[in-house]
């Protein structure tokens, strides 16, 4: 048993650590009042919409950071080698994100490509995948509907075959960034099918006749997910991603891969919250005494989350079944972050409820994490299902 990162992974981690120290930390003060739109890697598409000169300023900073990261070889980390990427391990990507999250600057290395797009074949590669790898295009993920989320049997959008085409009708709720994306990964079912059966994934460009982004929807998290409508939207069968009728597996694969990253991000956000709390408490020894045991408890829980995340990622690297591990991480991470933020606000008091305060922001953003990409209830369901199927074999050390 060996918990060390490999030499290659460790080198990468150190490079990122230096990048964070040299490039990000010095910007933290400046970002304290930055507009709330620089999360993730798709910020640019949305930031461009703004006419705010302030936003322009931050766009420039972020673009300069991108160039520096690229120059240090920190771009295309998780892109497969065949597409010119570094194809680093899941564990390495966790280590990278862990380092990045030590700074409050909402900067990520690109270009992340929706992992299921690597299933592109033939002309799809040039049309959809490469532009994403190069960062020229972005995509939205069209799964959930007004009456369906994690349950495939409720999925109602229909793709009716018509010669070489499919004709798509239905409504999608909550795909984020759909209003600014270049295409959508759309899940629809063949007529007359039930459950997972018949669910098929299509790649459909924005502007395709019959496909409309109807509106974006205000949420507490400031993420503005969208409502999409498909009315007799005709797409060619060459736009099917993977195989006809095998779309649900793609959805599962997409979720699985993200959950470890969700875990380590929540870890980072919670760690920063806890450091802010520590900073407040250092200024007030009496309060420090009163809150110390809670700080310590959360620090311990974060250590637990960290080890859980690394372990799951390592298992993913070994191509083991990680559905339950991913669910463990998603659930533990998002619930823990929720509690840490709640605690931070208790320590900081009402003044931290100012809209632009980092804690208030974290408070608004964290809530939806316990719902999107599979709510906590679905995660617990996945975990219990594995328990009753396999018993405690998950504790048999590999």
């Amino acid at each position: 048993m060996d918990f060390h990162l490999s030499e290659q992974e460790e080198n990468l981690r150190q490079t990122v650590q230096e990048f964070v120290h040299d490039e990000l930390v010095p910007l933290e003060r400046e970002f304290e009042n930055a507009p709330d739109i620089f999360e993730g890697t798709r910020w640019k598409t949305r930031a461009r919409l703004s006419s705010d000169p302030d936003v322009k300023h931050y766009i420039e900073i972020m673009e300069a950071l991108e160039k520096k990261a690229d120059a240090k070889g920190l771009w295309y980390l998780d892109v497969p080698k065949e597409y010119g990427g570094m194809q680093v391990s899941n564990v390495a990507m966790i280590a990278v994100t862990e380092e990045l999250e030590k700074s409050s600057i909402p900067f990520e290395f690109g270009n992340h490509v929706s992992n299921i797009l690597y299933n592109c074949k033939g002309e799809q590669i040039e049309r959809f995948l490469w532009p994403c790898v190069r960062g020229e295009k972005t995509s939205a993920f069209g799964l959930s509907e007004p009456a369906s989320g994690a349950d495939p049997s409720m999925l109602q959008t229909v793709a009716a075959p018509d010669g070489d085409d499919f004709i798509i009708n239905g409504t999608k709720m909550f795909p984020t960034f759909a209003d600014v994306a270049d295409f959508v990964q759309l899940f629809a079912r063949l007529p007359g099918t039930k459950g997972r059966e018949g669910v098929t994934c299509f790649l459909i460009e924005t502007g395709t006749p019959g496909y409309r982004v109807v509106r974006s929807i205000a949420t507490m998290a400031g993420t503005e997910p969208c409502e999409l409508v498909f009315e007799d939207c005709r797409v060619h069968r060459s736009q099917v991603l993977g195989e006809v009728g095998k779309g649900w597996d793609l959805n599962q694969a997409w979720l699985g891969a993200r959950r470890f990253q969700v875990g380590i991000r929540a870890h980072g956000a919670a760690q920063r919250m806890l450091r802010s709390v520590a900073e407040l408490l250092r200024a007030d020894p009496v309060e420090a005494q009163r809150f110390a045991s809670q700080v310590g408890r959360f620090a311990g829980e974060l250590a637990a989350l960290r080890t859980l995340t690394y372990f799951g990622s390592w298992k993913a690297d070994q191509k083991m079944d990680v559905r339950s591990e991913a669910a463990n991480v998603k659930l533990f991470a998002t619930e823990l972050l929720h509690h840490v933020i709640d605690f931070a606000l208790e320590v900081a008091g009402p003044s931290a409820m100012r809209k632009t305060h980092a804690m208030a922001r974290a408070f608004r953003h964290a809530r939806s994490n316990r719902i999107i990409e599979g709510p906590s209830e679905i995660q617990r369901h996945i975990i219990q299902r594995a328990l009753f199927r396999e018993g405690i074999t998950f504790l048999e050390l590999p």
Binding site: A47, S144, G149, S153, R215, M353, R367, I371, I372
Partner: protein
Amino acid sequence: MDLRLSEEERLVKETAAHFVARELISREGAYLKQRELFLPPGDPPRRELDPEIRSLLTERAKQVGLWALELPEFVGGSGMGALARVLIHREFGRTILPFEPACIPGLMANDENVTALVEGRLSLAFAFDQVHKSGTLKEVETRFRPESGGFAISATSIDLLNPSADLFLLPAREQGTNRIGLFLLDRETPGVSVGEVVDLTADSQVGRLTLKECKVKENRLLGYQYEAGEIIACEQLRLAARALGIGMRCLADSIEHARSRVTFGRPLSQRQAIQWMLADLSINLRTCTWLTLEAAWRADQGMLYFAVAALAKKRAARMAFEAADTAIQIHGGYGVCKEFPFEGFYREARLMRLLYGCEQEMDRISGEMFITEGAG
């Protein structure tokens, strides 16, 4: 023991319930509706009630006696006791529409501004910032000292909710004696300044109030320690009552949604995970309801009630937060959408938990008492 409402109490409650359903909840749809199809990037702006609708509602509330509840009728108030006020605020808590009866403490009945306040020409803010930590007066640092014909008050920086108010009620500590005084202050008084007004995460604002040797007349000293404590207890009861309303709304809507939403072939209402969340919430609602009512009843009986009011606020605000959290979770993706009321309740309840006493500090104070006295 008779826990039935009296005829009068029932009438008050039903009037409020009727007003809230007919005038407020009916307007929620329009208030919550998103105005533009595509949103600008970033966090959505603070919501506000249309000023015209606000005046209209104010008029109607006055007509049915749901205004200035604390004040006696001879100055235009409704002369309600604590229990009646709890019954009313509980109803107003059930709506996300930001409208509630003006709170004008009874001890202002004889103040020169009382009519203007009742009529809505002036507005009042409680500048009780330093009280929010513990729900007691011990952290009050605002200073006053007697001067010829009045007092001079100074404070460096007080977080002020409702920063657009014209009058400020605030506790201060006498230099030397450390005695608490409760003062009424004009925004126009020289030395008063309100700056840095910004939005809160709840749909309200905060500003910084600074007082530099503000001189007030003698009659602006409205009370001492006890009166200031009463303001705190009244606010705690008001918040507790609002929290009960939030809890009721969230529970009722969640039950409704769970009945109709079907996943994996069965309605949510048949899933124990959902049932348990709601069962636990309902227990919480019950205990908070009775604690709040008992505290208010004690107030009306002239019994000691500060400690129970504090406990009621602490538990009810937490309950409301959990109720909103549960409602969001049960509503899934829609739960965090601004067209639904739950995320608004969630933000409001989070703030409420931090006002007039934070949980751990309130617990610490009551724990110290328990340890010292060996009794509950």
